[in-house]
Structures are given as C-alpha cells and as structure tokens.
C-alpha cells in the first residue's frame, strides 16, 4: 500500500517495477453483513488507488482479507489498517480481496468503508 498521493510526481512505471506482495489476514467478526448478500466491487486498480471486492460467504464467522499489493514491505501498516477496519464494522463471514496499486492507508480505509456502505445497501 505504498505509493503516492495522487498529487505526486511519481510515474506509473516507477510503481510497476516494484515486486508484488501477497498478504493474508483473518480477523474475528461480530456480525454478518446486513442488506444484499452478493459481492460488491469498489475502486479501480489505478495509480495510487485500489480495488476492493467484498464477498459474503460462510467463513465460520471470521473476516478473511487477501491483499495483493504492488509495493512490498508494509505488512505491519496493512495489519493496522485492516484491524481498525474490522474493529469499526465487525463484519464476519466476509471475504475481502484487495488489489492495490500504491494507495495510501487513508485511501485504503476510505475504499473499505465505501465498500461496506455499498454492501449494506445504502450506497452513496
């Protein structure tokens, strides 16, 4: 989840050069998602951005998160962002798939919240 604020001067090529990293997290859930039960997709895989896919599925009440990120080495920060996300919403039985192309933690958190909003049926 690295990258740049959209304002920055970095180029796309400087990012794609970096190695992809694959991270997986599992957090306990407190509740299942309300509203629709089919998958939602939010965001785009663009520079400084990410794509978030939420899929309700039986996972023994847990929230499982799979991250593919273009920028390696920030597992600790992913952990903190995702932990806060799960604490905020408490969603279980949910598979979260993230495709990241250098989004900042602020963007990741925003995108995740937007996805939950969409999932729970009152999307903007």
């Amino acid at each position: 989840m690295v990258g740049w604020a959209v304002s920055a001067a970095s180029t796309f090529s400087s990012l794609v050069k970096t190695t992809m990293e694959h991270l997986e997290f599992t957090f306990p859930g407190r509740r299942a998602a309300t509203g629709r039960k089919h998958a939602v997709l939010v965001g785009v895989v663009g520079s400084g951005n990410l794509e978030v896919l939420l899929e309700p599925k039986p996972l023994g009440g847990a929230c499982q998160i799979v991250v593919k990120t273009a920028v390696a080495g920030f597992g600790e920060i992913w952990q903190a962002v995702l932990e806060d996300f799960c604490r905020r919403h408490g969603l279980g039985d949910l598979l979260v798939s993230i495709n990241d192309l250098g989004a900042t933690p602020a963007v990741v958190a925003l995108r995740l919240d937007q996805a939950v909003h969409e999932l729970e049926g009152s999307g903007p």
Binding site: V2, V6, S7, A8, V81, L110, P124
Partner: protein
C-alpha cells in the same frame, strides 16, 4: 590627556567636557573621513561600464552582446548582488551572463536574492564567481545547493522569509548591483513590469537609493509604456533579452489530480476551521490540498450557507482554481505577490477583485502582499513535508535545503497586530484558555497534509531532518518553516488537532499523534489520551463535524479539469500549453 577635574568621583585621566569639545572641533576640520564613498564607487563603476560599452550604449540601453563585459565592469570582488530570482519571474538572461564573467576578475560575490531557481544561480558558485548566499527559497536547485554546501563551496548566511530578506535589503544586505527583469522599457529606461511585478520594487528601491546599480533585462523596448512601474532614474542600464524572461506557472494546479483524501481534508478545513472561526481574510499556500478547498467553496461551502461568511478577502496569487469561487461571488478582493501565467486576461477583466493599474493589467507586489499576509490575514493554511511532535513544521528534508518563501512569515502569529476580527479574537480566546491574561487575538496557522506523502514517506516524524541539515551546513539554527508555537491546527485525513486548546507539551504530542494516521508516530499514540483529547474538542474527527468521508468524492469539485476552469472563466483564462490536455 590634559583633563583635570576637582570632582572626587571622576577617575583619574578621564576626559572632561572641555576635552570632548576640543576633540569634536578637531574632527570637524580634519576632513579625514569621506561621506560619499559609495556614490564615488558607483560613479567609477558607471564610468568604467560606459567605457566598456563604448559605442553600444544608447542612453541607458546597451546591446546584449556586451552584457558580460558590462557585468565585469560593474562588479567588484565581494560585491553584494541580487539577480532578480523570484518565485516566478526570473532575470534569466542576466543570470546566464553572470555565469560567463571571468572569475579572476569577478569573484567572491555575496548573492542576496529571494529565490535560487535557475541552474545558473548555482553555476556561479560552482565557478567561484560567488561564494556567499543569503536567500529565502530554493526549489528545483535544492539538491545541488545542498551538495555545494557539503563541499564547502558556498556559505549560507541564513534562510529567510521574503519580508525578512527585503527588510535586510534596507539594513545590512543592501545589494550593490541588482540584475532585474521587466516586461518592457521605453527609450528613457522607464520600466513596465507587467502583472509579475513581484520583488522588483523592493529590490530597486534598496539598490537605487544607497549607491547601488540597477541593470534591467526587458522583453521589449517600446515608445510608450502601458504604465511606469519603475521610474527611469532608478535604473542604470537596460538590455533587451533575446527571449522573454522565464515565468513559472507555479500556482497552477490541475483539478484532475485532486484526490478524494484531499477533498475530505478540504471539507474538514471548511467546516471545522473556516466556518468555526468565521475566517474572512486569508492566505492559501501552494499545493493540491488548498486547491481542493478553493474548488469546494462554490459547492460544499455554499451548501453550508457560508457564502459571504468566509473567504471574502485574500492575499493570494491569482490561482486558477480560485476562478469558480470568484465567479460564484465568494471572493471580494485578492491582492497578489505575483501573477500567474495564463491568468492575465481574466484578472484584467475582474478589476473589482484584483489590483490592477489604469492600463488594465495587474500590479502585484511581493513585499506588500507579504505584509498583508502577516498583518491583515486571520488565517494561513499550507502544506508541509515534515511535522514533529511539538508541531514544528519544515519542508527542508534530507538532502534538500529548500527554504520556505512566504510560509514562515504568513505562518507566524503577528504579535504587532492590533486590529480585531472575530476569527482573530476567537483564536486568541482559545489560546488564553480562560486564564486571566490581557485579551489579544491570535493568527490561525494551519498545517494541512495527508499523514503519508508519496512513496509512503511519513509526514510525521520524531525529529525533523532540519537538525541534520543544520549540522551539515553549519547553520546556527535548524531550518524550520513554521515553529510549533505558531501552528494552531494540524489537519490530516484523520481530522483536526487544535493545538490552541492543548494544556501542555504532552497534550500537544498526543494531539499530533492522534491525527498522524498509520505512520509510526500515529501508531504510537496513547489511545486513551487521544479519546480524551477528542472529548475535550482538541481533536475533531470528520464524523464529529457531520462529515461522512464516503461522500468525499470528486463530484464535489466545482471544476474537475483544466477545461472546466477555462469554462468557468468564460474563456478568459488561457492555461499554459503544458496544462492543456484537450
């Protein structure tokens, strides 16, 4: 000494009044001291220059192929020189010529100029023509300057704010030769600066009235100037540059590049600070964070009923992103430090808003606008690169001795200010925190930044790089852009930390950690204390203001592209080519 005195308290051999009188008389007639050496030196230099230019001088105008020769005649080793290097306008032809002088004749110059912007400004240090530098800002050349410092090939006196350096032009850093840039000259040598007046009046005033010499490069020589910005008798030599002087469109921000996080922070600024204090008089720093605020005025701020209640009077360059707010009737007046490429026709057509001459074109003035920013504005908001745990903020980072330009001035509490406004009084009241002290106001100084910058570099640090820079460059003090004691609010995607309401250093530290996001500094917060600060209103989250971060979308921007800005201006704004993507 013959002095003898009966007074028992007088030490032996001390001078009497009689002695003093005698001595005074003796000095008065001795004529040992000359009182016009500066003027004599100036006359000698001008004579030397005239000889050097022989035949190629018409009045004050000389032919450009003699420029290097002229500079060699005018400059003595060790002279203080100002090459008009502004934020935007550059005396680039003269700067190039200065790199070509013979270092065995012209050396050890002391450069006193606000902005070190061009490669040529660095080259004169590399070639041994100049040795000492007093400046304000060093943008693209920051890396090279830092390298030269490490090699000991330049010594830096200090990194100033603009007003401070201009002040020193009139005290101890008066230029002996100034190389300036103007749009046009007439045959007498009167100058028209055009909209980008910038530093010119301050430089010329100091130089011309204390035995200095002013050389101007102009884009054209005309019979009749649209207006006179600098009178001919303050100017000694004029040359027509082979190309128009460089003007950098430094304040143009393409709305297409504004992110949702910047929009979220802009909403937070508008609702949590502008509306909260009723900010009417303000300055915006440069960057996308503040451009986002400008573009939310006609949409988000308008929807909150804030038109006429905030953002009416500005000290600001003509930012293209301010066009929608102007057209929507938010903005009543704008005084500018400099102009902005492409905005000339728009500004000329909005003379009720901008300061313009009888000829119709804008007159900017950095010294006056910095004064306005210091004393007449209630709020300064700008971005930064590093903030420490005491709120000290700096854009000088490892390997980059950038300097700061106007931020240290406008981002400081004007302790000489006496006129009250509601915003100023409210900030002052918060700063007193109920203590029984003399009522006075306080300038709102806001640092706005996402917690992580590009490449996941943290904005928040335990220790500013400025400390190491100072040590490496031999500076007496770390180059801090805005001191923590002047910062009133820090605004990130996590919300606002109001430092005015902090009771002690620990409060300040936790308030800063509490908005520092997922950076190391942010993750080391004391969660309980941060929640306590939130209860006390020291920390305000977007949701505390009723802002739903999910609604921070680009749909809120009054203009989402450069083309939108052109449309808002009714076609008057003409963006430079590099910003035309359509």
């Amino acid at each position: 000494m013959e002095g003898r005195d009966a007074s028992p308290r007088r030490p032996p051999n001390s001078p009497t009044l009689e002695d003093a009188r005698r001595k005074a008389g003796a000095v008065a007639v001795s004529k040992e001291r000359q009182w016009d050496i500066g003027r004599q030196r100036r006359a000698e230099k001008i004579e030397r220059a005239k000889v050097a230019l022989s035949g190629s001088l018409r009045g004050k105008i000389f032919s450009r192929d003699r420029t290097v020769v002229l500079l060699e005649a005018l400059l003595s080793p060790g002279d203080r020189v100002c090459q008009e290097g502004n934020n935007q306008k550059q005396a680039d032809f003269l700067a190039q010529a200065l790199t070509e002088v013979d270092p065995s004749r012209v050396n050890n110059l002391h450069v006193v100029q606000s902005v070190v912007a061009l490669p040529e400004h660095i080259e004169i240090f590399e070639r041994g023509i100049a040795a000492r530098l007093d400046f304000c800002f060093c943008g693209p050349q920051a890396g090279r300057l830092t390298a030269l410092l490490h090699e000991g090939r330049v010594s830096v006196g200090a990194i100033h704010n603009y007003l401070e350096l201009f002040g020193r032009y009139f005290i101890d850093l008066t230029p002996q030769v100034s190389l300036i840039a103007a749009q046009a000259a007439d045959s007498q040598g009167n100058l028209y600066t055009g909209p980008n007046t910038e530093d010119t009046p301050a430089i010329v005033e100091a130089t011309a009235f204390r035995g200095g010499i002013v050389v101007a490069q102009v884009n054209e020589i005309v019979d009749r100037l649209p207006r006179v910005d600098v009178p001919a008798d303050w100017v000694d030599f004029v040359v027509q540059s082979p190309h128009p002087h460089l003007v950098e469109p430094l304040f143009t921000r393409d709305p297409a590049l504004i992110s949702e996080i910047q929009i979220l922070m802009a909403m937070t600024a508008i609702k949590g600070i502008y509306a909260e204090y009723g900010v009417q008089h303000l300055n915006h720093g440069i960057g996308f964070d503040t451009a986002a605020i400008e573009l939310l005025l006609p949409t988000y701020a308008e929807s909150l009923g804030l038109k006429g209640r905030i953002c009416r009077h500005w000290a600001l360059n003509p930012h293209p992103t301010l066009i929608p707010a102007i057209e929507s009737g938010f903005v009543e007046s704008v005084h500018s430090f400099g102009s902005e490429s492409g905005m000339e026709r728009y500004v000329a057509a909005r003379s009720d808003v901008f300061f313009t001459g009888a000829d119709g074109s804008m007159r900017s003035n950095r010294a006056f606008c910095q004064t306005a920013g210091l004393y007449a504005c209630d709020l300064f908001i700008g971005s930064t690169l590093q903030i420490d745990l005491a709120g000290n903020s700096s854009t000088a980072t490892k390997g980059r001795m950038t300097g700061f330009g106007g931020a240290p001035n406008m981002g400081s509490d004007a302790r000489g200010r006496r006129h009250p406004t509601p915003a100023w009084l409210k900030a002052g009241e918060q700063a007193r925190r109920g203590r029984d002290r003399m009522p006075r106001g306080r300038k709102l100084v806001v640092q706005i930044a996402e917690s992580f910058r590009e490449h996941m570099v943290s904005t928040f640090v335990e220790r500013l790089d400025a400390w190491d820079l100072a040590a490496a460059a031999g500076l007496d003090i770390p180059p801090v852009m805005i001191y923590g004691e002047d910062v009133t609010h820090i605004l990130t995607e996590e919300g606002i930390a109001n430092l005015l309401l902090c009771r002690d250093e620990e409060d300040v530290e936790q308030a800063i950690r509490g908005v520092a996001g997922y950076t190391d500094v942010g993750r080391k917060r004391d969660r309980r204390m941060v929640e306590n600060l939130r209860d006390r209103g020291v920390i305000t989250r977007p949701e505390d203001l009723g802002i739903d971060p999910r609604l921070a979308t680009r749909d809120l921007l009054a203009a989402r592209s450069m083309k939108d800005l052109v449309r808002w201006s009714g076609g008057l704004y003409q963006p430079p080519a590099r910003f035309r993507h359509w």
